[in-house]
């Protein structure tokens, strides 16, 4: 057993390609998802058409620029300039202040402020409009603290657990599941398939090693490597992206280890079927990666899927792990609230190991 594990580490550290996949990819992916692929807005170029040119308009512009969301790109003189400046593509929104803004606001009337957004990207346009509107409303409330606004119901929306709606909070649990899936399931299935392809499995079979020992020897090094990866991702999330850690750290570590074992058993299961490295890789990519990305709730919300996909998502281990991660990190719930998700992962693991042990060939085909 010890000899087998040492040998496995030699394989891993001497294969530069797999080493890059193992340790380079998690970091690159987290940074990519965290910084680049995000639906937050920042540094949006705006233009202003200010017909008021009074204190109020000046203050509002100041407030908008101070927020960090907007960057002033220039002033317009007339409405006719709005259309051409959008066409140039640099400007995402134009803010128009009507005349006599100051007076209108102090009187508690309706502020003649218009926000025109470029809706070629509808999500961004929505966000920009909402941000801009809330800044104007804030200003209005600032200058008229005592004036009761006309009686109307303004729903106050509170975003629980992620008040700033930071995308990265969603991406870190998601990326972590994808990476663990890739490292654990794909790498183990490939490394077992390699023994078959190279013919070394033939020699291993004609030895006193039991199937359980071969599989354990393959899996133990990857448990260690996957744990390192998970830790790196969590540390990046915590220190670089300020991901909150509300719940118990111990529960987080325990459930992460559980999910690693689930993915490893998936990898072993694949290797009982795949005869070549190529086949193992294809099966891992198509059979595991795609469903993990598409159906786990990582990219698309499960609740808005048609019912067949919703049902299908239940057999994706990643779905349950993402629920656990969100619960522990963002909501800070105790592990007892997540017993169902944990139990499902345990059952999946046991079933996969059971099938694999049964299917593991003690002879050549």
């Amino acid at each position: 057993m010890k000899g087998f594990i040492i040998k496995e580490f030699f394989h891993i550290f001497r294969d530069r390609r797999s080493l890059i996949i193992l340790f380079g990819m998690p970091i690159v992916q987290i940074l990519l998802f965290g910084f680049a692929i995000t639906n937050e807005i920042r540094n949006v170029n705006i233009a202003v058409l200010d017909k008021a040119r009074d204190e109020a308009s000046e203050r509002i512009i100041e407030k908008m620029l101070a927020s960090g969301y907007f960057v002033m790109n220039g002033y317009l003189e007339t409405e006719d300039e709005i259309e051409p400046i959008f066409r140039k593509g640099k400007i995402k929104a134009v803010v128009v202040f009507g005349p006599d803004l100051d007076r209108n606001l102090t009187a508690g009337g309706i502020a003649p402020v218009q926000i025109i957004a470029d809706a070629t990207d509808p999500n961004t346009a929505n966000t920009i409009a909402a941000y801009a509107a809330s800044i104007v409303r804030d200003y209005q409330a600032d200058i008229n603290p005592n004036v009761t606004l006309p009686l109307e119901t303004i729903p106050e929306v509170r975003m629980l657990y992620n008040p700033e709606l930071k995308g990265v909070f969603m991406f870190i649990p998601g990326t972590m599941t994808v990476i663990l899936m890739l490292v654990s399931a794909m790498m183990t299935s490939i490394s077992i398939a390699r023994e078959k392809e190279m013919g070394t499995m033939e020699v291993l079979l004609v030895s006193p090693l039991k199937p359980v020992q071969v599989v354990a020897g393959k899996v133990l090094p990857y448990i260690l490597l996957s744990s390192i990866n998970a830790t790196v991702i969590l540390l990046l999330g915590y220190f670089v992206f300020r991901m909150p850690m509300q719940g118990s750290l111990l529960a987080l570590m325990g459930t992460t280890l559980l999910f690693i074992i689930t993915t490893l058993s998936l990898g072993i299961f694949i290797s009982t079927v795949a005869q070549t490295q190529q086949m193992a890789m294809m099966m891992s990519l198509i059979g595991l990666m795609l469903p993990t990305i598409m159906l786990s709730g990582f990219v698309f919300p499960i609740d808005s899927m048609p019912w067949p996909l919703r049902v299908l998502s239940n057999i994706i281990p990643a779905k349950w792990f993402i629920l656990i991660l969100k619960g522990l990190m963002l909501k800070g719930v105790s592990i007892t609230y997540l017993w169902k998700e944990v139990l499902i992962l345990i059952m999946m693991t046991l079933a996969l190991i059971g099938i694999s042990v049964k299917k593991y060939a003690i002879r050549l085909a």
Partner: protein, 307 residues
């Protein structure tokens, strides 16, 4: 007796890989399984090493029936036909690994492999994948021997190995046999048969004969002539039209000829060939080799099949 094989048969679909194979190998015996590629040698090795189950028949290896795979896997050494070590591990790491999976250490059984290992020891830190063909096979032999098996299975160990390394390899097997190990080795090189204590000739899954190499050549039982010519193709065609011609096979640069009569007339054959316009021929009586015996037996075998 370390290996006893009793009428083992195995088919893959319509292909009969092994047909009623029976023979024994004793302790301290170097036994050769000789036959061309596709003859069923690897299938027999896989059945004896418990990697495959036979369709019918029995075998006992190292005292255990082949159904008791765990006991057999502890007591045999197996070197598959394909290079089956880890190319990304060094010579020494491979050896250590195989020692560890058999629950032993290199030091404990170093005595057994020393003669072989000293030849590859200068390359102990080299990756196995970067070794030459002969070196690879020597390392594979060390790995198969490291747990001091009672029975050693070597499937075509000298295929693709240069002549010098082949010779060295057989010398090692000779020494191992003296230690009392039973060795079953397969080869497609007929000239290696004479290095074995006994051989079984295998062809299309059937054992043609089992005997000592010397006895097999004796049973050939008829005069054999080698014909040397620069025009192998034409001479073969012309001899086929010779009235007393029995067999004519190309053997390297020569042709091997047998006659239908008990006492052939070489002068007459020479005259016949001269009459056909071949003047550079050289006809000599020779002793039959294992390969001649194999061709002879394989021919009889396929005649029985076609009848």
């Amino acid at each position: 007796m370390e290996i006893r094989i009793e009428s083992i048969s195995k088919s893959f679909g319509d292909v009969r890989a092994l047909v009623d194979v029976t023979f024994d190998v004793n302790a301290g015996e170097l036994f050769g399984l000789i036959g061309p590629d596709g003859g069923g040698k690897t299938t027999l090795f896989r059945i004896l090493t418990t990697l495959m189950l036979p369709d019918s028949g029995n075998a006992v290896v190292a005292g255990y029936p082949i159904s008791d795979y765990q006991a057999i896997r502890r007591s045999v050494g197996y070197m598959p036909g394909r290079f089956s070590l880890y190319p990304d591990l060094t010579v020494e790491e491979n050896l250590k690994f195989f020692a560890s999976i058999f629950g032993t250490t290199v030091e404990k059984n170093y005595e057994l492999i020393r003669d072989i290992y000293v030849q590859i020891e200068p390359f102990r830190d080299r990756r196995a994948g970067a070794l030459s063909g002969g070196m690879k096979q020597k390392l594979a032999l060390c790995c198969a021997l490291i747990h001091r098996p009672k029975v050693l299975f070597l499937d075509e160990p000298t295929t693709g190995v240069d002549p010098v390394s082949r010779k060295e390899f057989w010398e090692m097997l000779d020494r191992l046999r003296q230690d009392g190990m039973a060795i079953l080795v397969s080869t497609a090189y007929m000239d290696e048969a004479s290095l074995c204590d006994r051989v079984a000739l295998i062809h299309q899954g059937k054992i043609l004969t089992t005997d000592t190499p010397a006895n097999i050549t004796v049973t050939f039982g008829r005069p054999l002539y080698a014909i040397r010519t620069s025009n192998v193709y034409e001479v073969t065609r012309d001899i086929e039209s010779y009235a007393y011609a029995r067999t004519i096979y190309p053997f390297g640069e020569h042709l091997h000829y047998t006659d239908k009569r008990e006492k052939p007339d070489p002068i007459e054959l020479e005259d016949f060939l001269r009459g056909k316009g071949h003047h550079d021929i050289e006809l000599t009586a020779i002793e039959p080799t294992i390969e001649d015996a194999f061709m002879e037996l394989a021919e009889t075998h396929s005649q029985i099949l076609t009848q």
